[in-house]
């Protein structure tokens, strides 16, 4: 300690001188004139150059912190990107649906599919709209692409619809080009087929099929799909395979058409059938 004090005593001239210099510089830097601003600029540049020189030495702790922050940012950005992509796709779908809604003549209710079965012989979808939204049993379900199915059960806020991939659903259809009629249904083995078409009927691959006016359940003119294969199965009928316009694996939003077949027509047809028996 004594040695240190003695050493400091020898340096007292320099200590006092340094203190006075520092005090003078502090006084100088209290000024705010152009010279001091210039000196500050020089000081900042010098410090910047020195820091830049030292920056090549890696700081492990800083790097670790930076990595952690970058990883977190990356996760956040990925989430945001995913949400944005989802929003973009939803926007596209909703735009298409809005466009369809404006051009259709029927009143429609928009619903979101909240449940779906596609691997059974009787496939259905569950929609998040029900009786509170004026959805009734028998109403057709469609998208802007074409026919999906029809409502078979309803509750206050939900409804279940049979889709074209359901053995129980049979749709009266017509070839848009040749006006040939037939019945479209699913064979339960992966193919939608148009049946009851005579061998001589004019049906070609690529022809568009749509609901016909003979249908009790659906208004006419709703697109269903197009012909992919046209074979003769026996001497009487054709074997026509149909590719649906609606992709049931990806469809997310649907419209329920506020359309019910006329009761009077139904009754008349029923009476006639009973009489003829």
């Amino acid at each position: 300690m004594k040695i240190l004090l003695s050493y400091l005593g020898n340096l007292k001239e320099y200590i006092i001188f340094s203190a006075l210099i520092i005090f003078s510089l502090l006084l100088i830097f209290q000024n705010d004139n152009i010279q001091i601003r210039f000196v500050r600029v020089i000081a900042v540049n010098v410090i910047g150059v020195v820091q830049n020189g030292f920056s090549i030495i890696p700081n492990i702790f800083e790097l670790e912190r930076e990595n952690k922050t970058l990883r977190e940012t990356n996760i956040d950005l990925s989430k945001e990107l995913s949400m944005l992509k989802e929003a973009k796709l939803e926007n596209l779908r909703l735009n298409q649906m809005l466009e369809f809604k404006s051009r259709t003549n029927y009143r429609v209710v928009t619903g979101k599919i909240i449940g779906k079965t596609l691997i059974q012989t009787r496939n259905n979808i569950t929609i998040n709209i029900g009786e509170h939204d004026s959805v009734r049993i028998g109403m057709p379900v469609i998208t802007d692409k074409g026919l999906v199915g029809k409502i078979v059960a309803t509750s206050g806020s939900f409804s279940i619809a049979q889709i074209l991939l359901n053995k129980d659903l049979k749709v009266s259809a017509k070839d848009q080009r040749s006006r040939v009629d037939g019945i479209i249904s699913w064979d339960g083995e992966g193919k939608v087929r148009m049946k009851n078409v005579s061998k001589s009927a004019d049906v070609k691959v690529g022809d568009i099929l749509m609901t016909s006016e003979y249908s009790n359940s659906f208004p006419s003119g709703i697109p269903i799909g197009y012909v992919t294969t046209d074979n003769t199965i026996d001497n009487l009928f054709k074997n026509i395979e149909v590719e649906c316009f609606v992709n049931f694996e990806t469809v997310e939003e649907v419209f329920v058409l506020k359309y019910l077949s006329e009761d009077e027509r139904k009754d008349l047809e029923k009476k006639y059938l009973e009489k003829s028996k």
């Binding site: 006075l20 210099i21 152009i34 010279q35």
Partner: protein, 164 residues
């Protein structure tokens, strides 16, 4: 203590002279004046050493700064450095020789050069003047003018010694 009061009196008188009469004898278009305070400061530095020289330089510079109303601290800085440097000539055996001979002029010239360099380099920062302009227009003329003025105390001291 008496001695310190004497030095304080001398410095205050020189500051007063510097801020009043000296302005009438400026030369060149850049209004160069001798620095009589520095001459007094060098005298104190040689007499009393580095610490007294530094403190005297700081205080006298601070007073000059206050009177100049502009760049507080700059004259204090340059005079502190000059006072400290002059303290290096505080040697018991040679002190009288330094003070009473023309060596004093050389010491004043050296200290003035340091004082003016520090002062003017700071003072002209941010202006269009380059280093050589500052040296030629301000540092060298002020140093020479101050050195010329330091002849008077040497003459005065020699005359007094001769009278004794």
């Amino acid at each position: 203590m008496k001695e310190y009061l004497k030095y304080s009196g001398i410095m205050l008188a020189l500051i007063l002279v510097q801020k009043t009469i000296i302005n009438f004898i400026d030369v060149t278009e850049f209004k160069i004046t001798p620095d009589v305070v520095l001459i007094g400061l060098v005298y104190i530095g040689i007499k009393r050493g580095k610490i007294t020289g530094s403190i005297a330089g700081f205080l006298s510079g601070l007073i000059l700064d206050i009177f100049s109303f502009s760049f507080i601290g700059l004259m204090a800085l340059s005079k502190t450095v000059a006072g400290f440097v002059s303290g290096f000539f505080n040697e018991n055996t040679k002190m009288e020789r330094y003070l009473n001979s023309y060596i004093f002029i050389l010491i004043v010239t050296f200290c003035s050069l340091i004082n003016n360099t520090v002062y003017f380099l700071f003072y002209f920062q941010g202006t269009n003047l380059v280093f050589f302009d500052i040296v030629l227009r301000y540092i060298v003329p002020t140093t020479v003018y101050t050195a010329l003025f330091s002849i008077f105390p040497v003459l005065f001291a020699r005359r007094r010694r001769f009278a004794r």
